[in-house]
C-alpha cells in the first residue's frame, strides 16, 4: 500500500504508539481488499458496546488511551454508536454492576481520546449528516447504508477497531465503497406492493437484503410510487443491511446517485420482481395473533423525535398490561428533546420505559431476557426481529400501532 510521508511517520511510530497501531491495522485490512492507498475521512463513528468489547476490548482501549495526550487525541471528529448500558437505568433491567463498570471504563477511555459520546445510530438525523461525495468511516450498518444510499457519502462498514483507527489517523484504506466503480448497481429489483408504514419499509428492505445476499452486491430498486420519509428509508436500509450485509442501495428517481436507472448502470441488469409472496412470507415467519407478549420493543434503529411522538400519541391514556414491558430506545439528544416536549412522560405514564443512548439488541439482550423472563418479543423493527432469534427470543413483527395495542392487551392483537 502506498503511504505518504505523514503516514510513513505514523507507521514508524514517530507520532506515538496508538497511531502506529492504527496504520498497521489499516494496512492489514487494506491488503485483504487490495487497497492501493488511504483516503482522508471527515468523521469517524465507532460501534463499541461492552457486550461485544468484553473485558478484552475495554482493556485494549485503556492501554491505548494511557499514552500521552497528544498521541491519543483523535484526528477528526469522532462519535459513538449506542451504548450497552443506560447508566441511569440498568439495575431494573437485570444488568449487573460488572456490565455497568465495563461501560464506565470504556467511556472514560474514549473521553480521554476526545471521542464524543453521542451514543447514537441515527447520527445522520441528529448530529452531523455527511454530504454527497464525502468520505467517512462509520460503524453501525444502519448508519453506513443510510449515509451511502440516501446522502451519497462514501463509507464501508467500519467495525469498532477500524473506526478507531480511522479516528486516530483521519484516514481509512481506499477500497469498497470509497471507489466509484463499486457503487454501480449489480442487482435490479422491481417493487409492485407499495409500502405504507415503517414496518412495510423494513420488510421490503429485509427481502431485498436477503435476495442481494452479500456486502459486494448493490441493489437498485424501481417501482416505488412514493418518496419515503427519513424514518421510512431508515427502516428500509437498516433491515436491508441486517438481512443482506448490504451497505448501499439505489432507489430510482429518489436517492441521489440514481436519478435514472442508467445513472447506476442498472439498464443492463435483468429485473427481479419483489413478490407479495416473499413479503408475506417474511412477515408471517414471526409470531401470530393471540400469542402472549413479554416485551414490546421500539429500537434498531433508535427512534427519531417524530417516532417518539408517534409512540407517545399511541400510548396516551393507555396502560401497558402488567405482564408485558414496553421499551423505547432513543439517542441522548432526542431523549432530552422528548423529555422537554412531554413525550417521555406520555410513554412512561402508560407504563412504558424510554432508554437513553442504548439500543435493545446491544444491551446484553440475552442476559436481560433471562433476568426478566422475556422470550416472546414484539417489535415494529424488521432488523431487531432478525437479530434476536440468536439471543433466545421468539420475536414477532407488527406495525407500531399494533405493537402498542398488543402491549396493552398482553398478547398479539
Amino acid at each position: 500500500m502506498k503511504l505518504n510521508d505523514e503516514e510513513q511517520a505514523m507507521l514508524a511510530g514517530e507520532l506515538g504508539e496508538p497511531r502506529r497501531w492504527a496504520i498497521d491495522h489499516m494496512m492489514r485490512v487494506g491488503a485483504m481488499f487490495d487497497a492501493e492507498d488511504l483516503v482522508p475521512v471527515a468523521q469517524a463513528h465507532m460501534m463499541a458496546d461492552p457486550e461485544s468489547l468484553g473485558d478484552a476490548g475495554v482493556t485494549f482501549l485503556e492501554v491505548l488511551s494511557a499514552h500521552p495526550a497528544d498521541e491519543i487525541r483523535v484526528a477528526v471528529p469522532m462519535i459513538t454508536d449506542p451504548r450497552g448500558v443506560d447508566l441511569e437505568y440498568y439495575r431494573p433491567l437485570g444488568q449487573t454492576e460488572e456490565m455497568a463498570n465495563l461501560e464506565r471504563r470504556f467511556i472514560a477511555a474514549c473521553s480521554k481520546m476526545g471521542i464524543l459520546m453521542t451514543n447514537t445510530c441515527i447520527n445522520y438525523q441528529t448530529i452531523m449528516p455527511p454530504v454527497q461525495g464525502e468520505h467517512v468511516a462509520f460503524g453501525d450498518t444502519g448508519v453506513v447504508i443510510y449515509c451511502n444510499s440516501v446522502l451519497g457519502a462514501c463509507s464501508n462498514f467500519e467495525g469498532g477497531p477500524s473506526a478507531l483507527a480511522a479516528g486516530l489517523t483521519g484516514r481509512t484504506p481506499r477500497y469498497g465503497l470509497h471507489l466509484s466503480e463499486n457503487r454501480k448497481a449489480t442487482k435490479r429489483f422491481v417493487v409492485r406492493q407499495q409500502p405504507n408504514e415503517l414496518t412495510d419499509w423494513g420488510v421490503l428492505g429485509a427481502v431485498i437484503g436477503k435476495l442481494s445476499g452479500s456486502y459486494w452486491e448493490v441493489p437498485v430498486v424501481e417501482g416505488l410510487e412514493t418518496i419515503p420519509t427519513s424514518d421510512e428509508i431508515k427502516h428500509l436500509g437498516a433491515a436491508m443491511a441486517s438481512y443482506g450485509s448490504t451497505p448501499l442501495f439505489h432507489l430510482v428517481g429518489i436517492t441521489p446517485e440514481a436519478p435514472t436507472l442508467e445513472a447506476v448502470g442498472g439498464e443492463t441488469l435483468g429485473a427481479i420482481e419483489v413478490t407479495d409472496v416473499q413479503l408475506n412470507a417474511l412477515r408471517s415467519s414471526f409470531g401470530g395473533r393471540g400469542d402472549k407478549v413479554d416485551v414490546v420493543v421500539f429500537a434498531a434503529p433508535q427512534l427519531s423525535l417524530v417516532e417518539m411522538q408517534q409512540v407517545a400519541d399511541l400510548c396516551a391514556g393507555r396502560k401497558v398490561h402488567p405482564d408485558t414491558a414496553l421499551i423505547a430506545c432513543t439517542s441522548p439528544s432526542i431523549y432530552y428533546e422528548a423529555k422537554r416536549l412531554g413525550l417521555v412522560e406520555a410513554i412512561e405514564g402508560a407504563g412504558g420505559k424510554v432508554l437513553e443512548g442504548t439500543c435493545f439488541y446491544n444491551q446484553y439482550a440475552r442476559e436481560i431476557g433471562e433476568a426478566n423472563g422475556w422470550t416472546r418479543l414484539l417489535s415494529n423493527s424488521a432488523k431487531i426481529v432478525n437479530i434476536l432469534g440468536g439471543y433466545g427470543y421468539q420475536p414477532a413483527l407488527a406495525s407500531m400501532e399494533a405493537c402498542v395495542e398488543s402491549a396493552c392487551a398482553g398478547e398479539i392483537v
Partner: protein, 135 residues
C-alpha cells in the same frame, strides 16, 4: 491431499479440523459466545461447537459488532482457529486483523463450502493464500 488457492488473507499459519456449512456468519446473530456454539435455530450449524475449528462458510452477515467479538472470543480461548469464506465482508476482516485470527476468502476452485468437508484436516497459510486439505 488437496491444495486450494485463495486471495491472500489475514493472520498466521494455522492447522485444525474443518466445520463446514453452506450458510453465512455473524458473531452477533448466530453464536452463543459464552458456550462457544452456534445458537441461532435457523443456522445450519445450530448446536455445534466452533471452538478451535477451521470454519468454512459462505459469507459474513450482520452487524459491525463481530469486529470486537472475534477479539473478545479469542481472549477467552473460545474462538475458531480460522474462518474461510467464499467472500468476507469488511467487518470480519477488520475483526480478524485485531484478533490476530486467520481469515481468507475468494477461492479459485469455486464454492469453498463444497471443496472442504466437515472433519477434514486443514492447514491455512494466509500470506500465500494456500490451503491444504487431508481427509
Amino acid at each position: 491431499m488437496i491444495t486450494l488457492k485463495c486471495h491472500p488473507g489475514i493472520g498466521e499459519i494455522v492447522e485444525g479440523e474443518a466445520l463446514v456449512a453452506d450458510d453465512d456468519f455473524s458473531a452477533r446473530y448466530d453464536l452463543d459466545r459464552i458456550n462457544g456454539v452456534f445458537s441461532r435455530p435457523q443456522h445450519k450449524l445450530h448446536g455445534q461447537s466452533y471452538v478451535d475449528k477451521i470454519l468454512v462458510l459462505n459469507t459474513s452477515k450482520g452487524g459491525v459488532a463481530s469486529a470486537w467479538m472475534l477479539h473478545e472470543m479469542k481472549s477467552r480461548d473460545l474462538a475458531p482457529k480460522a474462518i474461510l469464506f467464499n467472500r468476507a465482508n469488511t467487518i470480519l476482516a477488520q475483526g480478524a486483523a485485531l484478533a490476530q485470527m486467520t481469515m481468507c476468502d475468494r477461492f479459485e476452485g469455486g464454492d469453498v463450502t463444497g471443496l472442504i468437508r466437515s472433519g477434514d484436516k486443514v492447514r491455512v497459510d494466509p500470506k500465500q493464500g494456500l490451503i491444504t486439505v487431508e481427509r
